[in-house]
Symmetry: C2
Subunit: 211 residues, 2 copies
């Protein structure tokens, strides 16, 4: 990919600060309760400080939401960009980046659900992330086409959108799926089992072939 960054985002490294801790607290309560319904006062209470002290760092809710958005965008970029840059990017590496995100950043994934589904889905970080995932999936599909691996009877547009629906849909519907799973979805055992089933489905379908 010539070092092209899908999410077009890089933040310089620095030591954890009070702002980082506030962002982590806000991320968690936004993910659990929803962004629109959570007040700056609730975030301050959850972080164990006064609303005034919080507003010293983030004067408005918009400023705090923007900081949380950037934090989550950074986490997603850090986990998905390396795989995109690999020359031998495959169905397996595609899933691995998502599994890493779900295993290591479960709260960020619940926040992703919020930004994908709350408010105006045609602007903001939810759109940036979904479009980035679509770009990765399309690049992968084109590589499979170039290698002659893609079935001839495939609808190319949906061939790269369906894998996103399978993976992002599972993140979004996590709590419903967990009623059917023998353990928490974001435990490594469940994630590996799910990832294997998705990869198998994308590669082979579910049914016996009659050629």
């Amino acid at each position: 990919m010539d070092g092209q960054r899908v999410f077009g985002f890089a933040r310089p490294q620095r030591e954890p600060s009070t702002e980082d801790k506030l962002i982590a607290a806000a991320l968690q309560i936004f993910a659990e309760e929803g962004i629109a319904v959570t007040s700056l006062r609730s975030v301050a209470k959850f972080a164990g400080m006064s609303a005034g002290a919080l507003q010293h760092h983030f004067p408005t809710k918009d400023a705090l939401v923007e900081a949380v958005d950037n934090h989550v965008l950074q986490i997603i970029a850090d986990n998905l960009e390396p795989a995109v840059q690999e020359a031998d990017y495959t169905t397996v590496t595609a899933g691995e980046g998502i599994v890493q995100l779900m295993a290591n950043h479960p709260i960020a994934m619940d926040y992703l659900k919020r930004v994908l589904l709350e408010g105006d889905v045609n602007s903001g970080v939810g759109q940036v992330i979904f479009n980035g995932l679509a770009k990765i999936s399309e690049m992968q599909g084109r590589r499979f086409q170039d290698l002659g691996l893609m079935r001839d009877d495939i609808d190319f547009l949906w061939s790269f959108l369906n894998p996103i629906v399978l993976r992002v849909g599972a993140i979004v519907l996590r709590q419903h799926l967990e009623r059917f799973l023998p353990g928490p979805f974001y435990d490594r055992e469940q994630l590996d089992r799910w990832d294997a089933s998705v990869t198998n489905l994308l590669q082979h379908g579910a049914l016996v072939q009659h050629d």
Copy 2:
């Protein structure tokens, strides 16, 4: 299925009433704006009546939400139950019920997104609907197994959950997917194209087979 009803719900037929019109108005504004953030006053205004007149029919927001939930549950049951009762229920008929819902009841589908994702997802109508879909998908999977059509290397649990994620995930992520589609998702042309791609994926996978 011996006439067993998956959703366990049947409402007697009657003429459209003022309450039906209020339910339709509430369904639309809840679907567009979200259930938690929409007040009884907003619904009344949208329906063109006073809050007092609305409360004559639905004294509380809970009562109105319950009526809308039952209305949507009825729509979903009416569209999915007949296919479940068919002896030759296949991958194709499974998708057809969902496509009918999306084509004919787009607002109910946006409301479904709300009940699946808002508030406590482990209670209420969202859980009833998701569990009903899982039951249909599992019944279909068992039939494929009995007919010897299911691949031997399949993880049975995910073999019936992944098709739900593909279909319900598309309903939930509609507005993101529409940025990539040449027309509105719930137009028949786009729905047929999507349904064909999902059926093809479930049957054959996306990649050329090397046996």
